[in-house]
């Protein structure tokens, strides 16, 4: 099967620090893919490279056939249009807007009505807005947020904010969705619930999922394939069982040989 996303030796330097070094892996359509590693390993930086927030120093990243970061460097909004959406480790919602509005904005990039029709409130703009709102409501339901649709995003509790970010990302109708520590700060029940939801996103909505998570139970139960980063380098790749028993991984996490 052709990969959906391939990292080909992606590298980025910040001054003297090589935050991500020659990282290479493929994600196939329909994967539930995990990206793990200790703090500061370069996981979030990988997300930033994939979504075009940072530009690679060398190597390249392909999405399907298209080069998105490398020889050609697409801006984040173009990459999102191609079908990659993300959440942020340090939540970045549109704080003053309601949950529903946040999700509507997620869907906006697929809207075709013109600015002119919005300014004059013509039928295309109204229809588009209504359709986006209906769709947004649906995503809020999936994330179990429909009761909070009209609450300001910054007034929501932390766990709900995380879920709202996922709903917003879903609304862009991506092929690949990147989740940066989605379970951070959640209690075991919430985390369990989230795990089911993420699986649904893949199974019912057919999205490919790439996720970063520190909660090992969460990752090992959910992900089918996992890449481990340490100090920007890829140190292991495989299924949950391979990773669990990989001495290099244990060393990276515990800081000493086993």
């Amino acid at each position: 099967m052709k990969p959906l996303l391939s990292m080909k030796g992606a590298t980025i330097r910040f001054g003297g620090l090589v935050a991500v070094k020659e990282v290479t892996f493929d994600i196939r359509p329909g994967d539930l893919f995990g990206l793990i590693g200790p703090n500061g390993a370069g996981k979030t930086t990988c997300f930033n490279l994939i979504t075009g927030m940072y530009q690679v120093s060398s190597g390249e990243i392909l999405f399907g056939e298209d080069c998105i970061n490398g020889a050609r460097k697409l801006p984040p909004n173009k990459i999102c249009e191609l079908g990659i959406a993300r959440t942020f480790q340090n939540i970045r919602l549109f704080g003053a807007l309601s949950a529903l509005e946040n999700v509507v904005i997620g869907g906006f990039l697929r809207s075709r009505s013109s600015l002119f029709s919005a300014l004059t409130l013509m039928p295309p703009a109204i229809k588009d807005t209504r359709a986006l709102e209906a769709k947004a409501m649906e995503y809020l339901k999936v994330m179990d947020l429909e009761e909070d649709a009209h609450t300001r995003a910054r007034d929501l509790p932390y766990g709900k904010q995380r879920r709202l970010e996922i709903a917003r990302a879903m609304a862009t109708n991506p092929k690949l969705i990147l989740l940066d520590e989605p379970a951070a700060g959640m209690n075991p029940q919430e985390s369990e619930q989230l795990s089911r939801t993420v699986r649904r996103i893949r199974d019912d909505y057919g999205k490919t999922v790439l996720l970063i998570e520190h909660d090992m139970r969460f990752v090992m139960n959910l992900c089918e394939r996992i890449v481990v980063l340490d100090h920007g380098e890829e140190i292991a790749f495989g299924g949950p069982d391979d990773i669990r028993n990989n001495p290099k991984v244990i060393e990276a996490y515990l800081g000493e040989p086993v």
Partner: protein, 392 residues
């Protein structure tokens, strides 16, 4: 079908309101009163258009008067050069000239916006300030627009019957455009850019294009207002559009609450009258100014302390705080009377013209210290709520 019915009704309502204002102004008010109504209309347009850039899209522009000026000069020059050789009557001509002003001003907006809007917020402030200076220097030196001695616009509106309806139609139109925009998903994308540029771009919003669109649209509206002003005054000199004007518009937007259209409108109507009214106050004892300033400072600093400790219903708190404010202001006034006993201050006076900018500047600073989100915050006020209803 129903859509078009409602639409036509609201357009008719807008035009009707403009005509009503025109009729009331011309039949009931003195020449000075009419002037205030016209200026209020222009400032509503300016404040609402700056609010689109500043409050809704979150781009901190502080040189809005420059676009007003570009529009005024462009429209004025166009009339001077072209009017005599074309068939339109003056009444039909003015809107055409305003469109010319809008187009040229929006081109200027594009010119300034493209390089600076790709960058972080603070730079835009300086670039727009600088653009204002460039425009001022150009207008003072270019012979075609009369350089420093100014340019007469011929023909101009008759002073006994200015087209008040036209300037209020523009104001109402600007309000309608912004309000319409906020009803749609498109408008939400502008708000998203204000809230978080990085998240917006990750959600597929073309951040630069959104900012430039807001900037160009805001400049166009300011340019149209300038076009009206040119034909209303009949004479343009560079000093009419200094940094002062930019800061007055900015104060209106900030005071009304960035992002709140109704806030901008109310603040614009209230503040546009202030400079004109102050201009007529000839002598104010300096001692009173000092006393009142001290009173205001006391009210603000005590109020800040106090409001953190106050609890209970909103009404009680508002009452207590306004009591405190009244007390401080009264005390300040008395202090002013006392200060007049000092020999250095007994004779010193100032005039309204000189303290108006002090009032604006003081308002800005105190407002930031007390309530940075503006009087209305992001919210819409009463009528505004009603305006927002239909789309949601």
């Amino acid at each position: 079908m129903r859509f078009w019915g409602v639409r036509l009704a609201s357009i008719a309502g807008g035009i009707g309101l403009a005509v009503l204002i025109h009729w009331i102004a011309l039949s009931q008010l003195s020449a000075f009163g009419v002037r205030l109504v016209v200026l209020a209309g222009l400032y509503v347009t300016l404040a609402v258009s700056l609010n689109l850039i500043n409050g809704i899209t979150g781009q901190f522009s502080i040189g809005h008067a420059a676009f007003y000026q570009v529009g005024a000069y462009a429209a004025g020059l166009f009339t001077v050069k072209v009017f005599s050789s074309q068939p339109l009557t003056f009444m039909l001509w003015v809107p055409v000239a305003m469109i010319v002003g809008a187009v040229v001003a929006s081109a200027a907006g594009l010119l300034v916006g493209l390089p600076s809007l790709r960058l972080r917020g603070d730079y835009l402030a300086i670039v727009t300030l600088g653009f204002g200076e460039i425009i001022r220097i150009l207008s003072q030196n270019l012979k075609v627009v009369g350089a420093a001695s100014g340019m007469a616009i011929e023909p101009k509106m008759l002073s006994q019957s200015p087209m008040v309806w036209l300037c209020w139609l523009l104001a109402i139109g600007s309000i309608a455009l912004c309000r319409n925009l906020l009803q749609t998903a498109h408008g939400l994308s502008f708000l998203a850019v204000r809230e978080d540029e990085i998240a917006s771009s990750a959600m597929g919003i073309n951040v630069t294009r959104t900012k430039v669109a807001a900037f160009v649209l805001g400049s166009a509206l300011a340019g149209a207002a300038g076009g009206f002003y040119a034909h209303y005054e009949g004479f343009l000199i560079p000093t009419q559009f200094g940094m002062e004007v930019s800061f007055i518009i900015l104060t209106m937007v900030v005071l009304g609450g960035s992002g709140s259209i109704t806030g901008s409108v109310i603040a614009a109507v209230a503040l546009s009258a202030l400079p004109e009214l102050l201009r007529n106050i000839k002598t104010i004892p300096l001692a009173t100014v000092i006393g009142l300033t001290i009173g205001v400072i006391a009210a603000v600093s005590l109020g800040r302390r106090w409001s953190e400790q106050l609890h209970g219903p909103v009404r009680d708190r508002v009452l207590k705080l306004s009591g405190l404010t009244g007390l401080c202001l009264g005390g300040g006034y008395l202090l002013g009377l006392g200060l007049r006993a000092l020999p250095a201050l007994s004779e010193a006076t100032t005039d309204g013209n000189r303290i108006r900018m002090v009032i604006f500047a003081g308002t800005l600073v105190l407002l930031m210290l007390v309530r940075p989100q503006g009087v209305l915050g992001h919210r819409e006020f009463g009528l505004g709520k009603w305006l927002r209803e239909p789309a949601r």
